[in-house]
Symmetry: C2
Subunit: 260 residues, 2 copies
Amino acid sequence: MSSISKSKYNSDRLILVCNDDGIFSPGIRALAEVAKEFGEVAVIAPDRQQSAVGHAITVSDPLRVTPFQINSRMEGQAVNGTPADCVKLGHGNLMKRKPDLVLSGINHGSNAGINILYSGTVSAATEGTILGYPSIAVSCTEFSDSADLSGSQEATRRAIRYVLEQGLPAGITLNVNAPAGPLKGLRWAKQANSRYVEEFEGRVDPRNKPYFWITGRLEILDKGDDLDLNLLKKGYATITPIQYDLTAHIFYRNQGKELE
Amino acid sequence: MSSISKSKYNSDRLILVCNDDGIFSPGIRALAEVAKEFGEVAVIAPDRQQSAVGHAITVSDPLRVTPFQINSRMEGQAVNGTPADCVKLGHGNLMKRKPDLVLSGINHGSNAGINILYSGTVSAATEGTILGYPSIAVSCTEFSDSADLSGSQEATRRAIRYVLEQGLPAGITLNVNAPAGPLKGLRWAKQANSRYVEEFEGRVDPRNKPYFWITGRLEILDKGDDLDLNLLKKGYATITPIQYDLTAHIFYRNQGKELE
């Protein structure tokens, strides 16, 4: 439990909770539980699994919203869209007022290194940042639905307390990853340069037609005790500040004005 | 046409051409035409419109690949997946050897400012960069299928020549945007800080059930003659170097080692 007294934090704060694994994921319940320690919670999340959707938004289909209640432990609104759709809808239409904080997760599976780019979990938090809210994405490195999320929850509490006490500069999102089990420590980290190798497995279907599954092994390209993937390997949870300004500023400054 | 002689560039170079509007888009034909001036072309692209998919990859469904030929002008392989899937498949399985260059586009619609994050066109090029290939995304600001893409094509030639002559540092992707019509000039630019406002339009369907369409107006949050969206407004094409390392390095350096 948080060591901060409820009186300090549990004011009339309104917290938007989203994820990419969908409303039935144990991870989003674990995140909503932590969020409740800090304020009122509005869960607005995809109605089904949306992993690896990246920062997709739904422009070609109508979006539907359905109220839900799960086991009297969590209620909210389910959206037939992507994580970024959910945050946009929460911000624009579905909440009684603008949120004070956006949380996304707890994802079942790491969103560190290059996975940050593919992650719907991270994109929901990034969308929160774009819209002007302090936003935190949280993932547990273990895929199993029965993973012990206590360390991820404690890392989330620390990240929330940081944001409430220090604030967060515009344009920056906090991306938290934690191993399953109790928290060993939460380290500030950089996104490890990494990529997938051996990506596709070819098969033949019962009608003799070929198809492919995406698969592969994550390869870490850099060493360093300050990189998210390396710290996770050592059992630490990580907190990586990321930005949605993708400009390569150093490269940019070395160019002229015009390209002929 | 390029002012560079074919003998200088049209060697045994192999160029992967992808997009997010799908294989029937006029934009990908226009891009393949330019690519042929610089080498052999392999078109590997989504079999249908995949706009706003961001950096999604397909992990829950099998991927199918179908050879296609359009009007004797372009042949290639169509994939029932996302732009990033296409580049991964091209790199891993579908090309006779690894490509020397990855091109994505020409998208019908701008991918400048915050649209960079939502863009499947840009994500295909980013995936090329992740896999180690020099990669360029190209978009025309006009949505119409009948847009004059000559300026976008000329901007593409200049970007390709730059890459072939100067090289491109690891981790950097070039994102080109151009107005419809002839090229007024190609300016180096930064991603403009921007966001959508008034995002959802609520409607009621014939069965009296509510639904939403994503809509909205793009708001530019910064001024500056060096920002992509502002330069495009003035009629210039833009070339923005972007990176997939999302770490907010300056913020990171101001933190301690551990967050308690």
